[in-house]
C-alpha cells in the first residue's frame, strides 16, 4: 500500500469522525453546541483541504541536512557509521499487527483476570516470545515484577484491585 493511499485512508477516517461529531452536535441545545459545532465544521474544512492538498500536490523532498541548513556549514565528512546504508525495518506492517495484537491480548487478560495476573502472564509471554530471556527466567522475572507492582499499587497506594470477569467463576 502506497504512503499516499495510507494517508488518504487516515484522512478519510478523520473526516468521517468529524462528520459524525457534527451530526451529533446538531442534536444539542444552543449552549451545549456553542463551541463543538464550529470545531466540527473547522475540522471538516481542514481535513478536506488536507485531502485535496495531499492528492494534488507533489510530495516535497523532506530529507534535509538539519546541521547544514541551520549553520550554513557544509556537511562534515561522513563517519563509517553514517556510510552504512539505512535500510527500513523489514516486515513493518507485520510487526504493527503483532504490536496491536500484544496490546489487545494484554487488555483482554486484564479484563478477564485482573491487572496483577495479566501483568505476570503478559510479561512472561512477551519475554519468552521475543527470546529476551529463556522461559524459566522470564517466568521468574515476571513474577518478581508482578509482585513489585502489586506492592506498589495495592499495598502502598491502597488501590482496590479489579479481579477480572473470571474471578466469580474461580473464587468460591
Amino acid at each position: 500500500m502506497s504512503r499516499r493511499l495510507q494517508e488518504n485512508i487516515v484522512a478519510t477516517v478523520v473526516l468521517a469522525v468529524f462528520m459524525a461529531y457534527l451530526i451529533t452536535t446538531l442534536s444539542f441545545g444552543n449552549n451545549a453546541r456553542l463551541v463543538p459545532l464550529p470545531i466540527a465544521i473547522l475540522g471538516i474544512v481542514l481535513v478536506l483541504i488536507q485531502l485535496v492538498k495531499q492528492n494534488l500536490t507533489e510530495k516535497e523532498k523532506l530529507e534535509v541536512n538539519i546541521l547544514s541548513s541551520l549553520t550554513g556549514i557544509k556537511n562534515p565528512s561522513p563517519t563509517e557509521e553514517d556510510k552504512q546504508p539505512s535500510t527500513p525495518p523489514p516486515h513493518q506492517s507485520r510487526r504493527e499487527i503483532q504490536a496491536i495484537l500484544f496490546v489487545i491480548i494484554f487488555v483482554g487478560l486484564i479484563l478477564l483476570l485482573g491487572p496483577v495476573l495479566a501483568v505476570f502472564l503478559f510479561s512472561s509471554g512477551f519475554l519468552s516470545f521475543t527470546g529476551h530471556y529463556p522461559p524459566v527466567k522470564a517466568i521468574w522475572f515476571s513474577a518478581l515484577f508482578s509482585v513489585a507492582l502489586y506492592l506498589l499499587f495495592a499495598v502502598a497506594l491502597q488501590l482496590q484491585l479489579y479481579h477480572g470477569i473470571l474471578a466469580p467463576l474461580i473464587t468460591p
Binding site: 487516515v10 461529531y21 494484554f106
Partner: protein, 506 residues
C-alpha cells in the same frame, strides 16, 4: 512576597517532599536515559501516583522527574547518537562526535553543568516575573483569557512539527475529545452514547498515558527492538574538563538560557524548537563555526542551557494563564489540575507559596540532577549498550496498571489502549500529538471563558472590549502570516523558475 518565598521553601523541608524529590530525580534520569522515553512519558507514568500526598511533595516528584529527564535525554544523544527525546536532537550534532573522539565524559560534564546553569536562570526568571505578571493577570477578564487560549491554539498549530494543516486537524481533534461528557455550563450530556463511563468525560491522565507511553511502546516494538551498541573507547578527558568548559563559555550559557526562557514563555513552542535554535545561534555566533558538527563543546553547552532554562520560562504561562508552553507543560498542567491546582490569577495571589515551591523545586532538582549526573558521567561514558527490548512489557504493564489506578475503573485500561493506537497512528502520519494534547487542555478554558464573556459582556463582547479586539486582530495576523509567507515563497519560486526557463530557451 518574601513570606511566600520562605513558606515555599519550608513546604519542601518535609521528609516526604525530600524523598519524593530524590525519587523523582532518580526516576527521571533513568527514564530520560532510556531511548524513546522522554519527559512526557515520565510524567504520564507518574500521573497515577499524584493523589493523596502533600501537594509540595507531589510537585517535587513530578517536577523533579521532569527536570531530570532533560539531562537524561542528552546522555543518549551524546553517547549513542539516539536522542532520548525530540528536544535533545541538537546534542547529537556535536555530542556524539565528542564521544567518538574519546571526550564523552567531558561532553557529559559540560552538558550537566550547562543544564544546571540554564535551569537556575529559568528559576530566577520565574521568581522575578511574578511581580511583573501579577498586575497584568489581575487586569484581564474572561474575554481576554479566551483570546489568550485561542492565541495559544493558533500559535501551537503554527509552530507544530511537520504539516501546518495536520497540526490544526490534531488540535481540533483534541478539542473534540475534551467535550465528551457532561457540559459544565448547560449540564447537557454530550457524546456519551448511553455510557455512564463516558458521561464523566475522558480522563486526561489516562489519555496521556495512552497517547505517549503506550504509543511509544508500540513504536519501539515495530522498530524491531533495535539493540543500541557502541564500542566504548579510551577516555581522553574528564568530567571536570566539561564543567570548566561550561563556565569558560559563560556568555554562551547566558545567551542560550535567555533563548530558552523566550521559547518557554511563547505558548505552544516546545523545547524541541529551542534546542535546535540554540545550536544554530551558537554556530552562527562562533568565531570558528567550522568546528561545529565535528565535536565542538559549545554545540553541547548551548542546547543544554536552553533546555534547562526552558522549564522556568514554560511554567510562567502554564501557571499564570493555564496556557502550556509546550507538550511537556501540557502534561504538567494536566497533573496540576488533577491535584486541584487551577492556573490563573489565584496562583499569583492566594497560591503564591506553591509557585515559589515550584521555583525552589527547579533549583534543588537541577542541583541534584547535576550532582548525580557528574557522579555517574564517567561510568556512563563507558556504557557499551542499551537494550530497550525489556522495556516494552515493563512500561506497558506500568502504563495499563497506572491507567486503571487513576480512577480505579477498568474501562480506563480500554481507553488508554485506544489512545495508544491513536497515538501511534498520529505519530506515523505526522498528526502532532502535542497539538492534540494542548487542544484537549485548552478546550475547557475556551468554552468556559466564552460562556462567561457572553453572559457578562453580551453577544458582541469582542467589539465592545478594546483589549479583546486588539488580541483578536493579533491572533488573525499571527495565524495568517505563515500562510502568506508560504504563498509569497511559492510565487517567488514560480517567478524565478519561469525566468530561468526563459533564459535557458533563449
Amino acid at each position: 512576597m518574601l513570606e511566600a518565598i520562605i513558606s515555599g521553601l519550608m513546604a519542601l523541608a518535609t521528609p516526604q517532599a525530600m524523598l519524593f524529590m530524590i525519587i523523582g530525580v532518580s526516576y527521571g534520569l533513568m527514564v530520560g536515559i532510556l531511548p524513546g522515553l522522554g519527559g512526557i512519558v515520565a510524567i504520564a507514568l507518574l500521573l497515577p501516583f499524584t493523589y493523596g500526598h502533600e501537594r509540595a511533595a507531589t510537585l517535587a516528584l513530578l517536577l523533579g522527574a521532569h527536570i531530570a529527564t532533560i539531562w537524561g535525554g542528552s546522555v543518549t544523544s551524546i553517547l549513542f547518537k539516539v536522542p532520548g527525546a525530540a528536544k535533545s536532537l541538537a546534542l547529537v550534532f556535536d555530542g556524539h562526535p565528542m564521544t567518538q573522539q574519546g571526550h564523552a565524559s567531558r561532553a557529559l560534564g559540560a552538558s550537566a553543568t550547562a543544564a544546571l546553569l540554564g535551569g537556575l536562570m529559568g528559576a530566577i526568571f520565574l521568581a522575578f516575573s511574578i511581580p511583573i505578571v501579577r498586575p497584568v493577570m489581575l487586569a484581564l477578564g474572561p474575554s481576554e483569557y479566551l483570546m489568550m487560549a485561542l492565541w495559544g491554539l493558533t500559535i501551537i498549530a503554527t509552530f507544530s512539527e511537520g504539516s501546518l494543516l495536520k497540526g490544526m486537524i490534531a488540535t481540533s481533534a483534541g478539542i473534540m475529545i475534551a467535550y465528551v461528557g457532561m457540559d459544565p455550563v448547560s449540564g447537557t450530556p454530550r457524546f456519551w452514547f448511553g455510557s455512564i463511563y463516558l458521561l464523566d468525560g475522558i480522563s486526561f491522565p489516562v489519555a496521556m498515558i495512552g497517547l505517549f507511553a503506550v504509543a511509544e511502546m508500540i513504536k519501539l516494538f515495530v522498530k524491531g527492538n533495535t539493540m543500541i551498541d557502541r564500542v566504548a573507547g579510551e577516555e581522553k578527558s574528564s568530567v571536570f574538563d566539561g564543567v570548566k568548559d561550561a563556565f569558560r563559555h559563560w556568555w554562551l550559557v547566558v545567551r542560550s538560557s535567555l533563548l530558552g526562557l523566550w521559547v518557554g514563555v511563547l505558548p505552544g513552542v516546545g523545547a524541541s524548537v529551542g534546542g535546535i535554535a540554540a545550536y544554530a545561534q551558537a554556530a552562527q555566533t562562533s568565531k570558528t563555526p567550522e568546528r561545529f558538527g565535528n565535536g565542538a563543546v559549545e554545540g553541547v553547552i548551548a542546547p543544554d542551557a536552553t533546555l534547562g532554562a526552558n522549564e522556568g520560562g514554560g511554567l510562567m504561562p502554564t501557571l499564570a494563564f493555564g496556557i502550556p508552553g509546550g507538550e511537556s507543560m501540557a502534561i504538567l498542567l494536566v497533573a496540576f489540575l488533577s491535584m486541584g491546582i487551577v492556573p490563573g490569577p489565584q496562583m499569583l495571589t492566594t497560591e503564591l507559596d506553591l509557585v515559589f515551591s515550584m521555583v525552589w523545586i527547579i533549583v534543588i532538582a537541577n542541583i541534584i540532577t547535576t550532582l548525580i549526573g557528574l557522579a555517574i558521567s564517567s561510568r556512563l561514558a563507558r556504557l557499551p549498550t542499551l537494550n530497550p527490548n525489556i522495556m516494552i512489557p515493563l512500561v506497558l504493564s506500568v502504563c495499563l496498571f497506572g491507567a486503571f489506578a487513576t480512577r480505579g475503573l477498568v474501562e480506563d485500561v480500554l481507553v488508554a489502549s485506544f489512545f495508544g493506537g491513536l497515538g501511534y497512528v498520529m505519530d506515523k502520519y505526522q498528526y502532532s500529538r502535542a497539538n492534540f494534547v494542548i487542544g484537549m487542555v485548552l478546550a475547557e478554558m475556551i468554552e468556559r471563558n466564552l460562556h462567561i464573556s457572553l453572559g457578562l459582556y453580551g453577544d458582541y463582547f469582542v467589539l465592545t472590549r478594546p483589549i479583546t479586539l486588539a488580541m483578536l486582530i493579533f491572533i488573525i495576523i499571527t495565524t495568517a502570516l505563515p500562510f502568506l509567507r508560504q504563498q509569497r515563497q511559492a510565487l517567488y519560486k514560480r517567478f524565478f523558475f519561469n525566468k530561468k526557463n526563459k533564459q535557458a530557451k533563449e
